[in-house]
């Protein structure tokens, strides 16, 4: 599953294409979700701040 | 890729069906050698683990012209096209592999998680699933051989050409400073037991071994050659109907027209 650390990994076209697509898709999902969560946290913080100022 | 290989071998069998009497010794020799479990009721053959199974074929004619022929069926250790055996390619966890050094299709039972895809892929029904936990009656576990681990419930198992015998033979040869095995040093349990001497085992690509010559016998055929499985078990029969039963044919086709990857 992982390059470098798993002994079955072979640097062939099959592994690169297959695992490449997998990690690519996983990255999009991971980064996307991280972005949403962080942004939501910041947004929440901002709103809290503005309400305090009022 | 950089690993250095010993001389490549393709271990295989030639089974002379003219000699086989259907006595079943190969089946039990296999079970005893490989710690195959058994249950109270083994009559459901679709749930009975027999790495080596002897089929009974008949010519479909009516009394008194019926003829029968026994056909022992171990794992075919298919080479497919360039090592792409039907089962090896589908296994999702690399629990079965085509060993390019010996041509043996291995089964790593501790890796298998029991998805059974390989069983669906094998047209020979050579793969068996452990539907139950293996249970030996009290005391009988003493008869188990340490060379082959008993399998746990939920994994697939099959004939390994008694690979442990290869390892033992190889270790012995290595201790004597030899890199190559002699023909008779490595023989599977079924081959050794057959009272009819119907099974010959050896390296199919070694010109000096018996199987090399035998596979070229005009009586030789393999099972389902047309599928491109490229099996390493050859059968010999002098009867045309037996050879024809080895594959599917259209009525206008001659027996043995397809000889893939020989």
């Amino acid at each position: 599953m992982f390059p470098f650390i798993s002994f079955e990994w072979v640097w062939d076209i099959g592994h690169i294409v297959f695992m490449g697509s997998l990690w690519y898709a996983l990255s999009i999902l991971g980064i996307g979700m991280t972005y949403c969560i962080i942004k939501a946290a910041i947004d929440t913080q901002k709103k809290d701040d503005t309400s305090h100022h009022h | 890729m950089t690993q250095e290989y010993r001389k490549e071998k393709k271990y295989g069998m030639v089974i002379d069906l003219d000699k086989c009497t259907g006595c079943g010794a190969c089946m039990v020799a296999c079970m005893a050698e490989n710690n195959v479990p058994f249950r109270d009721n083994e009559t459901d053959k679709l749930k009975s683990i027999t790495w080596m199974r002897v089929y009974q074929l008949n010519n479909g004619k009516s009394y008194p012209n019926e003829e029968i022929c026994y056909l022992p069926r171990p794992c075919m250790h298919c080479e497919g096209h360039n090592g792409h055996s039907p089962c090896v390619t589908v296994c999702p966890a690399i629990a079965t592999d085509y060993d390019r050094e010996t041509g043996i299709v291995s089964q790593i039972i501790t890796r298998c998680f029991g998805c059974r895809y390989c069983m669906g892929a094998c047209p020979y029904h050579a793969r068996y699933f452990n539907w139950w936990d293996p249970v030996w009656p009290d005391g009988m576990e003493k008869s188990l051989s340490p060379n082959v681990s008993p399998r746990m419930r939920g994994v697939v198992e099959k004939c390994t050409f008694c690979f442990h015998r290869y390892q033992l033979a190889y270790e012995k040869a290595a201790s004597e400073g030899r890199r190559e095995l002699r023909e008779n040093e490595y023989q599977p349990s079924c081959t050794q037991a057959c009272p009819a001497g119907a099974i010959t085992f050896g390296d199919l690509i070694n010109k000096n071994q018996a199987v090399y010559k035998m596979k070229k016998d005009p009586r030789a055929f393999r099972l389902l050659e047309r599928l491109g499985t490229n099996p390493k078990i050859y059968y010999l029969s002098s009867r045309e109907w037996v050879r024809r039963a080895g594959d599917n044919y259209h009525p206008d086709e001659e027996t043995g027209i397809v000889k893939n990857h020989r």
């Binding site: - | 009394y63 026994y70 008869s143």
Partner: protein, 715 residues
């Protein structure tokens, strides 16, 4: 509130993320994978030093050489012994399953006493003193002749010790199961009072005419037969199989002659007719080896014209003529007899009709032919001393007339107290004798039964006392082998492992009982123990046996000791009549023998049961094979159930349609229907012997039942 929840949530998320990033889940996953591979209930066979020991298999009369593989002190595999004169490396399903018998749940682990139907463990001292006391009491009452013994074989030191004991004790009642060897012997006029054993030089024959002989189905020494059969394939020897069903032998034959069941003798005489008519016989050899030829010749020529024979046997006359000519012209032809595994004797008529072919073409005592071998009497023990009590006892008539075992049950039924004590060694009469139900009924009437069985078989289960023998992998013993071999052998077993349980060698038990009884009985057993007795008895053979486990008894026939074959004048209908009324039972039930099923006194171990095809047994149902036309007549379909009725019993069976059997014949697998042994065997299928009864041959009195009339009704 809001803060709390947020805190809680972030704590939860943090904990999850933290755990996921820590090595904990990976460690757990790894543990799980290891654990699921090492479930404590899946055994891990301990490793150890590998060793190989040669011995002899005793599980059937075949006498194969075996090589036992051990890991430290565990037997893990039995393989065929290479270069052994019988099996040369080959091995059968039963022999391979040996470790399962050794370690199996069927072993009797100590002396057992039957107390009101349940077995209780007792000590050897208790067991031996009880049996000794009983024997002494019976003898004191002057009823020593009511003690009987049944052995699995008439040969070898253990049956000989049992017989010797009975003789010294004063009983003529030693029995063992009859075989085709008895039939063969009876068809000859003996030069001395000896038995004549048939030895077939099959490896050198060039034309084999088999009358139902299961060459590939376990006849004689099964592996030797398979190997001979394969030699024929490469050496262009023709095999003609006469048999009503397409057995594995018929399947391997060059020609299958599906004769009607029971007409084998007539077919043989039809073939003889061709040989006689075309003068293909060897007059010199006939004169040399036999008596009564000319009258026989006239009778055969008068009554067995191929056309007539064809009508009776169902084999067309052209085939009969061809086979007759081929047999007559062949250089080394041989006719072989004994149906299936050859465990049941043949009627004298059939035996004579078939063996007459061998005599006609002059292949007796010739390469590729049949040898008339003398009984291998190799045991040399001192004379038995008899006291008056023994002499009186020996004067009495045998309980079963003529010493025929199958007559014993009816004799017991007639005179209840005729047997007061019975020993059974290496035999399982409560399973292997025909009309088994009656056998068991009679057996139960015997006040005290003693079994020497190593396994909990049917007879042991019904006994009052079990004195378990060591298994064959735990003991020394000679294994005499005749089984149709060209030269009889003495095989040898030796302890591969130390006895696992509280068992004792039957030889030792007999010797210690005898010695405990003192007097002339004790002095007839001058040995300390069985091993000494064996060594003493084997004499010159001891050293070669202890070194090589096998000795061949070479026999070169000399004129003086050649027994002469007596041509039997065939009567008009030499068919063996079947029991039952033809009108309401118009089918013929015949057994089918298979190497995958043990039908002898050893029951099939689990591995063997696993090899049974689902056309013989499904779940607990015996499957019978009938021709589709038979089924059609009776309204039966593939896979349906039917009631099979014979004059002896009725049983529910499952139907399998087969093109390998003639109309109105039922083929029934032999070797199933055990009630004892373990859960892998008990309760599976039906015992064929329960369905047939003894049918006595008018000439010899032997039980020659080979089938029975039957009916089938849809269940």
């Amino acid at each position: 509130m809001k803060i709390d929840r947020r805190c809680f949530l972030s704590l939860g998320i943090g904990a999850t993320a933290g755990t996921a990033l820590s090595p904990l889940p990976w460690k757990l996953m790894d543990d799980i994978s290891i654990w699921s591979q090492n479930w404590p209930w899946t055994p891990v066979p301990p490793d150890g030093e590998i060793s190989y020991t040669d011995s002899t298999c005793t599980l059937c009369p075949g006498g194969c050489g075996i090589t036992v593989r051990k890991i430290d002190n565990r037997v893990v595999k039995i393989e065929g012994r290479k270069n052994h004169p019988v099996n040369n490396g080959g091995i059968c399903v039963l022999g391979l399953s040996g470790p399962q018998l050794l370690y199996g749940p069927t072993r009797v682990q100590s002396p057992m006493k039957n107390v009101n139907g349940t077995f209780q463990k007792i000590t050897w001292n208790q067991a031996l003193s009880e049996i000794t006391e009983k024997l002494l009491t019976i003898r004191a009452e002057g009823r020593s002749h009511t003690v009987a013994g049944i052995a699995g074989s008439s040969r070898g030191t253990v049956p000989a010790l049992l017989q010797r004991f009975l003789t010294a004790y004063g009983s003529p009642n030693f029995y063992c199961q009859s075989s085709i060897e008895d039939s063969f012997s009876l068809s000859h006029i003996q030069p001395q009072n000896n038995k004549t054993i048939p030895g077939f030089d099959l490896e050198n024959a060039d034309y084999v005419l088999s009358f139902g002989t299961g060459i590939m189905d376990g006849w004689g020494s099964p592996l030797r037969m398979i190997q001979a059969g394969n030699a024929w394939k490469t050496g262009k020897t023709k095999l003609i199989q006469v048999e009503p069903r397409l057995s594995d032998t018929a399947a391997k034959s060059d020609e299958w002659l599906p004769s009607k069941p029971g007409t084998e003798a007539i077919l043989a005489l039809g073939i003889a007719h061709v040989i006689l008519l075309e003068s293909l016989y060897d007059q010199t050899a006939i004169n040399y080896h036999s008596e009564g030829f000319s009258t026989w010749r006239t009778a055969v020529l008068a009554h067995y014209h191929p056309d007539k024979v064809a009508e009776i046997t169902g084999i067309d006359s052209r085939t009969i003529i061809t086979v007759g000519r081929e047999f007559g012209h062949a250089e080394r032809p041989v006719a072989i007899f004994g149906r299936g595994k050859g465990n049941t004797p043949l009627s004298l008529t059939e035996m004579s009709a078939v063996h007459a072919l061998n005599v006609l073409v002059g292949n007796v005592n010739k390469t590729g032919g049949v040898f008339t071998l003398p009984e291998p009497n190799y045991i040399s023990w001192p004379e038995i001393s008899l006291d008056t009590k023994a002499e009186t006892g020996l004067q009495t008539k045998q309980i079963a007339e003529g010493g025929l075992l199958h007559r014993l049950p009816s004799a017991i039924k007639e005179a209840e107290d005729s047997v007061t004590l019975l020993f059974v060694a290496d035999a399982n009469p409560c399973y292997t004798l025909t009309d088994t139900k009656e056998v068991i009924r009679a057996f139960k009437k015997i006040p005290f039964k003693v079994s020497f069985s190593s396994y909990m078989d049917e007879t042991a289960t019904l006994s009052d006392l079990i004195l378990p023998n060591h298994s064959y992998l735990e003991r020394y013993e000679d294994v005499p082998v005749t089984s149709g071999l060209r030269n009889p052998l003495i095989g040898f077993t030796k302890p591969i492992v130390n006895p696992l349980f509280q068992t004792k060698h039957t030889g030792d038990v007999i010797i210690s009982i005898a010695r405990a009884m003192k007097g002339s009985i004790g002095s007839s057993f001058p040995w300390e123990n069985y091993l000494q007795c064996l060594k003493n008895g084997l004499g010159q053979h001891w050293n070669p046996l202890i070194n090589n486990d096998v000795v061949e008894i070479k026999y070169v026939p000399e004129f003086e000791d050649i027994p002469r074959f007596a041509f039997q004048i065939p009567n008009d209908k030499p068919q063996v009549l079947l029991e039952g009324n033809e009108n309401n039972m118009n089918l013929t039930l015949i057994p089918s023998d298979s190497l995958r099923l043990s039908s002898g006194y050893i029951g099939a171990p689990p591995f063997m049961m696993k090899t049974l095809p689902d056309t013989i047994l499904t779940d607990n149902n015996t499957i019978i094979q009938i021709h589709p036309k038979t089924a059609e007549k009776l309204g039966l379909r593939q896979g349906c159930y039917a009631i099979l009725k014979t004059p002896k019993d009725e049983k529910k069976v499952k139907i399998h349609l087969s093109q390998g059997i003639g109309e109105d014949i039922i083929s029934f697998p032999r070797g199933l229907g055990h009630t004892a042994y373990d859960r892998y065997l008990a309760g599976k299928g039906i015992n064929f012997n329960e369905l047939i009864g003894p049918v006595e041959d008018t000439f010899s009195g032997l039980d020659v039942a080979w089938g029975i009339r039957a009916s089938l009704i849809k269940a």
